[in-house]
């Protein structure tokens, strides 16, 4: 094996791949070969670094230099300057927005400083398509240790003591779940990994699978040993082709090394993993729906009990955990339950991955200890709100969650505090909104999602959510009444109480949470027929202020429907009957002459 002096890590996450990270790698390889350095510098495609806002990311080791927004054209300069002469390319380094200084080592960047990476420990560090790199990072050491030193009961005890709770949404204690499944005797049991990441705006599971697939395989095998299962199934979204490819490679490599299959490490324990594909249904994130979908049926939920731990896939005891939960397991075995339990808050241990997105400066994937405050996440790691706007709310828990507002900024984030605040952890999507976002429209947006994703099995969810959506639509059109506001709340509570599965029980949360925190916005829509954020099209008009307009014609030229008329150098006028309120004119006006009334 060649000994390399330097390594160039190029992000191969979905965001960076969309910005040409493939051609960056090709370019590096050809430049290095041309300079005769291909035996000294290794180029590696890694998983997601997390800092998607500044992608594509290129990292150079051993000096840990972090280049941002690299283009294929920049590669020749990095090779000639940094790799040959040892001089860093300053213009591609991250610039700290506060001090305006170049930061070359990612450890000193605000985005990474507060993070502790457990589930994401290998993402952006190893080549996910090479099992040797995972093994070099103590990979498959945990399963070895478990098989050799611990009984299943002892292993379950470690997971229980660590305090690990399910990262998929509900936060059920993982060790307890394993224990229940282990106690149900059957000729065949199953370990299922839920990789049907359906919360729009959350992409942590995908990043783990793309960046560190072996950690999930290893954890599933450990789980199989604990509960007495020899078969594992990963239920993954068909919309994640890259993750599927990397999983297939990883499974093949693990089989080749004898880490999956018969008699693993000579212990007599058999375990193998296959893939099942989802086909786009949010409700399949619910355990019982997921299991039906795995059986080739419509993904409709069924009543619990019986729980999957008693009767799951093909009627056999089944343990379902999500990707992030599994990814945390091997480290817990290696570093011990006490170590994991020392991180986090009293009832929520360890770390949580959040997908930070929306109106925030540093969009990306972050992993922080439980108990980190929203303020730290948004203003320190996230770098604050885009374009200097004011923070309004952060939605956690996706379509099942609620919004956190300014008054929650200093609340430590954990499972229980989020529920107390009227939201929930969910899978970890965190969408940040600013003063320009209309909270009634946000609630409508989420309802639109749940109406489409409701499986239709039970009436409260199928019919009730549709009615909620219609009321919200009337409110945003300026046709809402006070009675309807009351009905909105009552119906929400009924749906929560009477729906069969998690989807319906949580679907009114965005409505209730925005009503609790932003009731004045609802009132403005209903009573004043105004949208305070200027988002609801039916409630606004675009107007040109004649005093401010200089008649530059920029707006008229850019209006897609020719609604703006006027002579050069004279104030223009918008014909509100033609105007489609697309906002193109406001963006083009350099004189701030157009406003929304």
């Amino acid at each position: 094996m060649a000994k390399y002096k330097m390594h160039v890590l190029v992000c191969g996450g979905t965001g960076c791949k969309a910005s040409a990270s493939d051609s960056i790698i090709e370019k590096f390889k050809s430049e290095l070969t041309a300079k005769g350095l291909d035996n000294e510098v290794q180029v590696i495609l890694t998983g997601c670094f997390g800092f998607c806002e500044k992608g594509p990311i290129v990292k150079v080791l051993p000096d840990n230099t972090f280049y941002t927004q690299v283009k294929p054209e920049d590669v020749a300069e990095i090779v000639a300057e940094h790799l040959v002469k040892g001089r860093k390319v300053n213009r591609l380094l991250y610039v700290d927005p506060k001090s305006n200084e170049h930061v070359s080592d990612s450890k000193h960047m605000g985005f990474y400083r507060k993070q502790i990476r457990i589930a994401l420990r290998n993402c952006g560090f190893i080549n996910p398509e090479n099992i040797d790199e995972y093994i070099a990072r103590d990979g498959y050491y945990a399963i070895g240790k478990v098989l050799k030193e611990y009984t299943p009961a002892q292993t379950i005890d470690i997971i229980k003591k660590s305090g690990l709770r399910g990262r998929g949404g509900g936060g059920f204690p993982t060790g307890l779940k394993w224990e229940i499944a282990s106690k149900n005797a059957a000729d065949q049991k199953y370990v299922v990994c839920n990789a049907d990441e359906g919360d729009p705006g959350a992409f942590m599971d995908r990043s783990v699978l793309e960046g560190d697939p072996h950690s999930v395989l290893e954890a599933m095998a450990i789980c199989g040993y604990c509960i007495g299962a020899t078969k594992g199934v990963i239920y993954i979204r068909a919309e994640y082709p890259l993750a599927i490819t990397r999983l297939k490679i990883a499974i093949d490599q693990a089989r080749e090394y004898g880490l999956l299959g018969k008699d693993i490490m000579g212990s007599g324990f058999d375990f193998d993993i296959t893939l099942r594909y989802g086909a786009g249904a949010f409700v399949c994130g619910e355990e019982t729906s997921l299991i039906h979908s795995m059986e080739g049926l419509r993904g409709e939920p069924t009543n619990k009990p019986p729980f999957p731990a008693e009767s799951g896939y093909l009627g056999k005891p089944t343990n379902v955990n999500n990707v992030e939960t599994f990814a945390s397991v091997p480290v817990i075995i290696l570093k011990g339950a006490e170590w994991f339990a020392s991180i986090g808050t009293e009832k929520s241990k360890g770390t949580k991955v959040f997908a930070l997105a929306g109106k925030i400066n540093n969009v990306g994937l972050i992993e922080v200890p439980m108990g980190t405050t929203l303020r730290e996440v948004i203003f320190e790691i996230g770098g604050g709100i885009k374009n200097g706007k004011k923070f309004k709310a952060a939605q956690t828990g996706g379509p099942s969650g609620g919004c956190l507002t300014e008054k929650h900024l200093d609340t430590p984030i954990d499972f229980d505090n989020l529920i107390a605040a009227g939201s929930m952890m969910g899978s970890g999507g965190m969408i940040v909104m600013d003063e320009d976002d209309c909270m009634v429209s946000i609630a409508k947006f989420f309802l639109d999602f749940t109406v489409e994703e409701s499986c239709g099995k039970c009436a409260p969810c199928r019919i009730g959510n549709k009615r909620l959506y219609e009321i919200l639509e009337r409110i945003t059109n300026g046709e809402g009444t006070m009675e309807e506001l009351e009905r909105l709340r009552n119906l929400s509570l009924v749906i929560k109480d009477t729906s069969l599965c998690g989807l319906g029980q949580t679907s009114p949360n965005p409505v209730l949470s925005t009503m609790d925190n932003f009731y004045h916005e609802y009132l403005a829509h209903v009573n004043d027929k105004k949208c305070p954020a200027g988002q609801c099209k039916s409630l606004m008009q675009y107007v040109i202020e004649p005093e401010a307009c200089v008649g530059c014609t920029a707006c008229a030229r850019n209006c897609p429907v020719n609604a703006i008329t006027g002579e050069r150098k004279k104030p223009h006028v918008i014909d509100t009957a033609i105007c489609i309120k697309c906002g193109a004119c406001i963006e083009k006006c350099k004189f701030n002459a157009i406003s929304i009334k």
């Binding site: 910005s19 919360d199 919309e239 049926l297 419509r298 969009v363």
Partner: protein, 161 residues
């Protein structure tokens, strides 16, 4: 559009049967069979579903139920250049709706429809996981990031020849 009669050629029927066979004609493999079939046909018209139902020995209603349940399966042929606008939450708050409106206006189709010349079809999808680039539009496999309503006509122009 789903009422258009499709006449399957002999080879096509054989191909579907092969796919079913590769999954041992097991009813539990229905979703995998549909994935493979859609991969090779581009869509799943009623006639294709009938063949699958026969092969797996389940009712056509069951196959239809599964096809219509999951958003990944479609009974309408996609355009030559399928356009998907991400309407995940991150893209939504960064203006995906305005981008979608512009596509609808220029192509003069609704979501889920294909232009009469069969060139473009328009659909929405939920989160491709590239939220750093929001709002995101996909044309075929290619991802366009930070799309503004202004930029829509340029994207369409790229594929118009």
């Amino acid at each position: 559009m789903s009422h258009i009669k499709v006449e399957l050629k002999k080879e096509q029927v054989a191909k579907i049967k092969d796919i079913c066979k590769s999954f041992n004609n097991e009813a539990g493999e229905l979703i995998n069979v549909l994935h493979k079939t859609q991969e090779s046909f581009g869509y799943l018209p009623a006639e294709v579903q009938e063949v699958i139902a026969r092969e797996l020995n389940v009712s056509v209603a069951k196959v239809y139920g599964v096809v219509t349940f999951y958003s990944f399966f479609t009974m309408i042929p996609k355009g030559k250049h399928p356009i998907s606008i991400c309407t995940g939450t991150a893209c939504y708050v960064r203006g995906a709706e305005k981008v979608l409106d512009e596509f609808k206006r220029i192509l003069d189709v609704k979501v889920g429809e294909t232009t009469p010349d069969g060139k473009f079809s328009l659909s929405c999808l939920r989160c491709v996981g590239a939220c750093g680039l929001a709002p995101v539009v996909m044309v075929g496999e290619k991802v366009y990031g930070r799309v503004s309503p202004d930029g829509v006509k340029d994207i369409i122009k790229e594929y118009e020849q």
